[in-house]
């Protein structure tokens, strides 16, 4: 009896400890952002903000061009993700469903592409973009971000496509659908959760990127939020309230998207993880 009580308690106890460990940094970011400065720099931490203030958010958003950065970040991220999903879906379908010469080569190729250490190639990319007179534009950013997430998207989507029962597609084709129609009417709806959970990775990557935009776009009109956050941190390094408010603002869209998509994609997650 004693043993079974113990074995019932420890998983839950561990789970509680883990939960606290994983949530605390996120909680602390928000808590700090809402606390008055006096509570932030206090000898004993104020665990729960009692006097909520929005002053730090005002500092953080009061920076010149703040809304330009927001718009740019959104445009670049959304375009990169949508483009890469479209391109990847076609490729993933071929890799998962068709037999052809060189298939293995393509798969290895994308796996290699996934390993590309982009940060070390910055200067090469800079010179290409500079010589093409495309600096201070969102276009190179969008397409490079698209490329950064493309290999992962293809390889992951391949798993999701393979997980859709082949019979369904064949049944549709027997019913007189062409292969393209079968794809659109049968496979695509079943793929929706997979597409969503795959897009998460893309969102995070594109939303976060800053070494490239730092060197490509010197004009504020073409800069994005990560630059704002990192420059903010240099200038206001000790103003933790404002820095945390900025971090919170930066993290919120991704957190919302994640919670929202993760729930809807939970079936896809299980299905996609085990490649059918």
């Amino acid at each position: 009896m004693k043993r079974s009580l113990f074995s019932r308690i420890w998983p839950n106890a561990t789970a509680v400890v883990l939960f606290v460990g994983f949530v605390f940094p996120v909680y602390w970011m928000f808590a700090t952002a809402f606390k008055p400065t006096g509570d932030i720099i206090s000898e004993n931490p104020v665990w729960f903000p009692t006097h909520i203030t929005l002053e730090h958010f005002k500092t953080a958003t009061g920076v010149d061009h703040f809304w330009t950065y927001v718009t740019n970040s959104l445009i670049v991220t959304v375009c990169a993700v949508v483009l890469s999903l479209a391109v990847a879906l076609a490729g993933a379908f071929a890799l998962a469903r068709m037999r052809f010469k060189g298939r293995r080569g393509f798969i290895i190729g994308f796996m290699l592409a996934q390993m590309a250490p982009w940060e070390v190639m910055i200067i090469a990319m800079y010179m290409i973009v500079r010589d093409a007179s495309m600096l201070n534009s969102l276009v190179p950013l969008t397409v490079f971000y698209m490329m950064m997430i493309l290999p992962f998207t293809i390889l992951t989507l391949r798993g999701f496509v393979a997980a859709v029962p082949k019979d369904l597609e064949e049944a549709a084709m027997v019913d007189g659908c062409t292969r393209a129609q079968a794809f659109r009417k049968v496979i695509l709806p079943l793929l929706a959760p997979g597409l969503m959970s795959t897009s998460l990775f893309g969102f995070i990557t594109a939303w976060n990127e800053f070494p490239l935009v730092l060197v490509l776009n010197k004009e504020a009109e073409a800069q994005t939020l990560p630059l704002w956050l990192s420059s903010f941190q240099t200038a206001f390094g000790n103003d933790w309230g404002a820095t945390m408010a900025a971090s919170s603002l930066f993290a919120v869209p991704i957190l919302i998207l994640f919670v929202f998509l993760q729930r809807r994609a939970v079936n896809g997650l299980t299905a996609g993880a085990v490649k059918g």
Partner: protein, 326 residues
């Protein structure tokens, strides 16, 4: 956002099923059909060649050039053969950074995989409510954008008013009260490791948990009939079933952690005294920071080669499996 594995044991039979259809079953439009996969892959391949291949080639070309402030400003190309490589490979810095990079990746990947797997198995054991709670916690950590997470960790570990130092002080470790975590190599790596492991565990744990839910119950029943205990059924059923996931996840973690530029660079800029530079940071500081761009390009090429060597084992497994499948 899931791991995609290569042919788990219960693997897909559909691919082989296609094979079983004789040539006679092929539809008339077979020539167009034969082209279809290439057409479908065309956009992806074109993008890869243009957007990845070209920068790679450019980087390779730059690595054979003497390219500094003057040459960059004047758009002058000054070939210097293999000087950059010679200088990098004969200096002790490069090898020291390489060794550090490999050790750094190994420690972080092992910690992430071990802890991640344990959390994943724990998830499978929990009751529904507790599981959802823990899942929420994991997802929150997972979803934190790296740039924001790095900033938050700097605040947690801040010398003054940082909550970590406060807790350590209260726990009786008074010398930590005003401790500067960025002051030494080990403490900087400690912060970076906590940050990386914290961010990587959820991915491993959630995927592994998802995988365990797909293990057919009959396998366990059969093992129980054979008189297997909890440990035995874990090693004979769970582990073999999860192996492909573990391989694939480890591969992804290796490349992600090896490339953990933002975390290392933002926490302490590779400092103190350049002691926490890992390869991508080293390439950046030598190339962009030091305005020695040709040298940076050479280090970048070497970095890519080293990453290839590290992952070669996994790539070979994939290569073999795909071969078996066809």
């Amino acid at each position: 956002m899931t791991v995609q594995t290569e042919r788990p044991p219960s693997g897909p039979v559909d691919v082989t099923k296609v094979d079983q259809r004789g040539p006679g079953a092929q539809r008339p439009a077979s020539r167009a059909g034969a082209l279809a996969p290439y057409l479908l892959l065309l956009p992806a391949c074109a993008a890869t060649v243009l957007l990845l291949g070209w920068p790679l080639l450019k980087d390779l070309l730059l690595s054979f050039q003497n390219l500094n402030m003057g040459q960059l400003i004047q758009h002058v190309t000054e070939w210097n053969g293999i000087d950059n490589y010679k200088q990098a490979l004969t200096g002790e810095d490069f090898w020291r950074v390489t060794g550090r990079s490999i050790l750094f990746t190994a420690v972080n990947v092992v910690l992430t995989m071990l802890l991640g797997a344990l959390v994943g198995l724990l998830l499978a054991r929990l009751g529904k409510r507790m599981r959802v709670t823990l899942l929420i916690g994991l997802v929150l950590a997972w979803a934190m954008p790296v740039v924001a997470a790095t900033t938050v960790y700097q605040w947690l570990f801040a010398q003054r008013f940082g909550v970590v130092n406060w807790v350590l002080d209260k726990l009786g470790w008074h010398s930590m009260a005003d401790y500067s975590w960025t002051s030494s190599q080990l403490s900087t790596f400690f912060v970076v490791t906590v940050l990386i492991v914290w961010q990587s565990i959820p991915f491993v744990a959630i995927n592994l948990y998802a995988a365990t839910t797909t293990i057919p119950g009959e396998l366990y029943e059969a093992a129980a009939l054979d008189g297997a205990g909890a440990w035995k059924s874990f090693t004979t059923v769970t582990l073999p079933f999860l192996r492909p996931f573990l391989y694939a996840t480890t591969f992804l973690e290796v490349i992600w952690i090896f490339k953990a530029f933002v975390q290392v660079f933002t926490i302490n800029g590779g400092g103190p005294d350049r002691l926490t530079e890992i390869l991508p940071v080293y390439a950046y500081i030598e190339g962009v920071g030091n305005q020695h761009y040709g040298m940076g390009a050479a280090i970048a090429v070497l970095t890519i080669l080293i990453l290839l060597v590290i992952t070669a084992y996994y790539l070979r497994i994939v290569l073999k499996q795909e071969e078996d499948e066809l």
